[in-house]
């Protein structure tokens, strides 16, 4: 039989080794399959583990899809430097979508796609909205009631312009235009 200590080690290791959160059932039918164990007993083990990690850099949390270890919330900002390489540049597709929204607003995704001749990825629309540059101002009264997108005040503020009409017109390239333009996809 398995000792209490071994049992705790096994559950702990299984949760750490799993790529996704692990449910009680997954543990019972997986690593614990050979040790007839009931749920209340496993719950106890998990409670103990949660307690063990209370003061540690990672903690055992129960999320919607099961248990997982995650880094302590307060450490987030300090840990963020591990991934804070310079943000990649926005793709041409994203900027063109943004320009089209600015120009043709209020506009549906279908209308943007009609002009660009390619589908606009959900990721691009999400990025633009998360950035606060684009928002939904209504829905078009056609089948499917597609969202109508428009630019925001934050968008104007970011580019320090009063209105989208202030976006420099064609034929007046500034010196910054000559910069390298092979933007990376975000």
């Amino acid at each position: 039989m398995i000792t209490d200590k071994q049992l705790k080690q096994l559950v702990e290791a299984a949760i750490f080794a799993a790529e996704d959160p692990v449910t009680l059932d997954q543990l019972l039918t997986g690593v614990l399959a050979n040790f007839s164990l009931n749920k209340p007993r496993l719950r106890q083990v998990l409670d103990q583990l949660q307690d063990d990690y209370k003061e540690r850099g990672v903690q055992l949390n129960e999320v919607a899809s099961g248990f997982r270890f995650q880094t302590r919330a307060e450490l987030g900002p300090a840990l963020a430097s591990m991934w804070s390489e310079r943000a990649p540049r926005y793709s041409a597709a994203l900027l063109e979508t943004l320009a089209l929204i600015a120009w043709q607003q209020p506009v549906t995704r279908g209308e943007i796609e009609a002009v660009r001749g390619v589908s606009v990825s959900t990721q691009i629309m999400k990025t633009l909205q998360e950035r606060g540059w684009v928002k939904v101002v209504g829905h078009k009264e056609v089948p499917g009631r597609p969202a109508l997108y428009a630019t925001t005040k934050e968008f104007l503020n970011y580019f320090s312009i009063q209105s989208v009409a202030d976006i420099p017109a064609l034929g007046q390239p500034t010196e910054t235009d000559t910069r390298e333009r092979d933007t990376e996809e975000v």
Partner: protein
């Protein structure tokens, strides 16, 4: 795993047969077939031979097996015996048209050559000078044996996802890191705008009016306002402080919104208040009134 191990152990070479060979061999298939138990009986069922050859990683491996089976040292390479046995296996492979044979044939040629040199009578005077014709093969066998043993030891090392797993924790830090979005210059935006304008120009063949920009923007502002209030007074859409130009922009925006069917203008009677509602909202309003 256990039953297949036992099967292998019957093969009198358990001590030297390496672990990884067991892995590559579909042992369940063999079912205790005494494939290598009868060294002198060269009858081997074709499918068993195929499996057996799969167990050997090449001619060197087969040679080493033949030597070990005779409990001989590589240094005493009994070339006549080994060559005879090796040729028998190769002959079987050829009969079975096994694809593996090519590399095995090269070794067969080497063995045959050594054998012939050993059998050739030598003038006694030269006997001391001439190198043992087996020397090169012995050297290669020893070198190969190191590699085979190294591979076996490597396989016994703790391996990821077999003997140990990487322990990792989820983190929200990555999302925090992702919160510094890329910078965009106004010039970049201008260039993107000129690209899409060009696209539209090519598609529509109509004149592109940049002036329309502010009208479109005003349309958005009106729509947004109408998403917050059910309806509003037409007059309230105009901001006198904006001056004449601003009023014109607002007026154009209302006309355009109306044309595109995005708003509905209602007026109970002449000269009464004109109300502006979102298209689709009027039904809700009427229901509310009724």
């Amino acid at each position: 795993m256990n039953s297949s191990l036992e099967t292998l152990e019957q093969r009198d070479l358990a001590a030297e047969q390496s672990l990884q060979e067991q892995h590559s061999l579909p042992l369940g298939f063999v079912r205790g077939e005494p494939v290598l138990e009868r060294p002198d009986d060269l009858y081997i069922p074709p499918e068993a031979l195929e499996l057996m050859l799969e167990a050997f990683s090449g001619p060197m491996d087969l040679l080493l097996y033949l030597i070990r089976r005779q409990k001989m040292d590589i240094l005493d390479l009994p070339i006549l015996d080994i060559t005879r046995q090796y040729m028998a296996y190769v002959e079987l492979m050829r009969e079975l048209h096994l694809e593996l044979a090519a590399d095995y044939l090269v070794m067969a040629a080497i063995l045959a050559e050594i054998k012939s040199r050993l059998l050739l009578p030598k003038p006694p005077s030269e006997e001391d000078d001439e190198e043992d014709p087996r020397a090169e093969l012995i050297r290669r066998l020893r070198e190969y044996e190191v590699i085979r043993e190294g591979a076996r030891q490597l396989d016994e090392q703790p391996q990821q996802d077999r003997d140990y797993f990487i322990a990792s924790a989820a983190t929200d830090a990555r999302d925090i890191a992702g919160q510094t979005p890329p910078e965009v210059s106004l010039a970049d935006l201008s260039l993107a705008l000129s690209r899409v304008m060009q696209l539209v120009r090519v598609q529509a063949h109509h004149h592109i009016q940049r002036e329309a920009l502010s009208t479109r923007e005003r349309m958005s502002a009106i729509l947004e306002r109408l998403s917050q209030v059910e309806r509003c007074d037409f007059v309230s859409l105009f901001e006198p402080a904006e001056g004449k130009a601003g009023v014109v922009v607002s007026f154009l925006a209302v006309l355009e919104l109306n044309k595109e069917g995005l708003i509905v203008l209602t007026q109970a009677e002449a000269y009464s208040v004109i109300y502006v509602t979102r298209a689709g909202a009027e039904r809700v309003l009427e229901e509310g009134v009724a």
